[in-house]
Amino acid sequence: MAVSALIIAAVFVVIFAVFAVFDVVTGKRTKEKYRIRTALTAYLMLAPAILLAFLFVLLPILYSLGYAFTDYYLLEPDNIKYIGFENFTRAFSEIASGGTLYRALINTVKFVIGVVPLQIGLALLLALFVNKPLFGSKIFKVCFFAPVVISLSVTSFLWLQILSPSRNGLLNSVLGLFGAEPRDWLRDPASAMPCIIILSAWQGCGYQMLIFLSGLSNIQQNLYEAAALDGAGAWHKFTAVTWPGLRSTFVYIIITVFIGACRILTQPMLMTGYMDHTVTLSYYMYQQGYTNRWVGYSSAVALLMTIVIGTITLIQRRVLREKN
């Protein structure tokens, strides 16, 4: 493993060096002393960032790409064989046969469809609310942002108490006041994923709220004044001034929330465990890679997932950019 890492590092250094030499040579050719110095300074300054990006981003991606074509079993790191597309074939047949990977895919799609609009909608509403110069709006801002800085493990535990299936569970006891029977929210396939969606949106929306707030602060007040002079009401001001002003912020938020939602792992892991109705793609990969120790297969699924998410993100950008 160390040897392969060194080989990859060497290739990377060579590519990096070629670029650097090219720049320096071009500078010499044009006899611009200033250009040589600039190029060297730039590469020197870039070096730490590029080294870190190589170690923590590029190298893991390259390894994962390589492992996807092997039978790498975590307990036998010295016994890795190249098996071609076998892992991919297995993944596709698992999807075709309606196996756990298929269910993970469906659950992830359900989660994304549920959480992306809910989280963004909530974030926008909260941003609009705290953006008004009302008494105590700063306190609300802190309160709405608080769940973001709390660990997901802690918030999941908190929600486990709220959604406890016993009569004493917070939600069940409140509903019990209206005569409802206690319900096992997280074990019931009909309610488990909606509960995880609500928890995730609640936990994450504070962060997007802050981004929306920075977007709102960039909208000039005179636009609102002009709209008011034209007789626009609150709704018209929102559709004609606020929304167009937030469009680029919205594009950024929708892409980041979408990517984050596709990677959901902690909430189902802590709240329900590995169950058919809540297993997600990331949880499936974790289970295959760590618990079952099939790193090769897990890497293949990760690669497929990256391709799918990447493609959808590109489409999103394209569609939203055109509209913009």
Partner: protein
Amino acid sequence: MKKLLSCLLMLTLSCVVAFSAVACGGGTTTDTKSGEVDQTTGNTIVKIMFHVDEKSTEGLAYKKRIEAFNAAYKDRKIKASATYTARVQGAAGYEAELLNNQVEGTLADIITFDAPNTASYAKSKLLYNISSLVSEDVQKDFYSLNTYDGSIYGLPIQESSAGFFYNKKIFREKGIDVSAYTVDNPWTFEQFNAVCKSLKDAGVTPVDMRLDATKDETATYLLYPFIYAAGGEFTSQDGYTATGYFNSDKTAAGFTFIKNLITNGYTSYAIGPTDFFSGKVGMYLSSGWTIPDLDNKYKEFFANRDDWGLLPYPSSAVAASATGSWSFGITNNHHSDKTAATELLLWLTSVESSDAITAATGMIPARKSVNKNWAEGSPEYTLLKQLETSGKERPVTVAYPTFSTCFNQVIAALGTNDVKTLLNAQADTLQSEMNRLKQK
């Protein structure tokens, strides 16, 4: 330009100095075939990894035994160096650390591992075959050994057994007599159901079967004996066949017994984790680790041992009870000479260590010769007697992680699904994993 070059030179020199410092930071040791040797003291360092937090009761017990080892082996120039990584759910826990070390080639000389992992760790040669390192007398003194394919790969730290803790005050108030049900005369599934019915009729939630504990190994550990008791099996003897075992009629009968407890209202997924301890539930399925809790906490409901007791597992076709705990194993790391590691292993599994560690954990000592001094009829005595008479280990299979997941998934879905359908689906999953591992 000169300035730039001198900056570059300074940076390079700084890097060289920094790397040298890192490389030489621990530079007082040399790696040898028997372990790292401290050059100043000449001690051979045996590294050991524990699965608990250093400050926990169990961690402190290990720490004391390590300190005693270091004092005793000072003249023989062997020193134990321990690291403690607590088990947590997710990628940051003990198992993840262990697997990372295996991949990086930095495995400690001795590790602790959960007994069901013996097969996979042994097959993949993570564990060293210690059959020839442990004398026959010592082997015979253990209640169980971590074996795979006829060889020994680990020695248990402690043993375990589980049973039904029951609230004697509730039983007395409701006039339910269970005194006849002992390990020598275990109750049957029917008698268990009858007691549950009496409790339910008296307005008490009868039993917490720990159906909510399916996120980790707890539910598997506590509930698998019911399947054996019904005459069922999980896998073939060689651990590579699940079809026809995991979904056999007898296995289904065991799971059906648990399902009927749910459908009859004797247990449920909704029982809170402290409901038994606050006097709301009649019985509580758990292991020996609950004894210190009942002795020391929850004094409001369980003032002393007159307020609670322990009943064995009920039996049907056969008697079966839960066993297995964590063990010590020597790893197949790059230190080929295992002499120093063997000394530490035997020290930590000695009668003295076994006694000291189980005194802290409340579990059953792994060695038979440890003086137990438990009064007949006491909960500890019941667990020990049950271990000796009906203890049956979890299936020995290299696909154990998948088995555990499948078992948990069956339990989690048991309340609302057909048993046979669930078992067929999970048997397919387990069989598929076994096939892959067989080919590997």
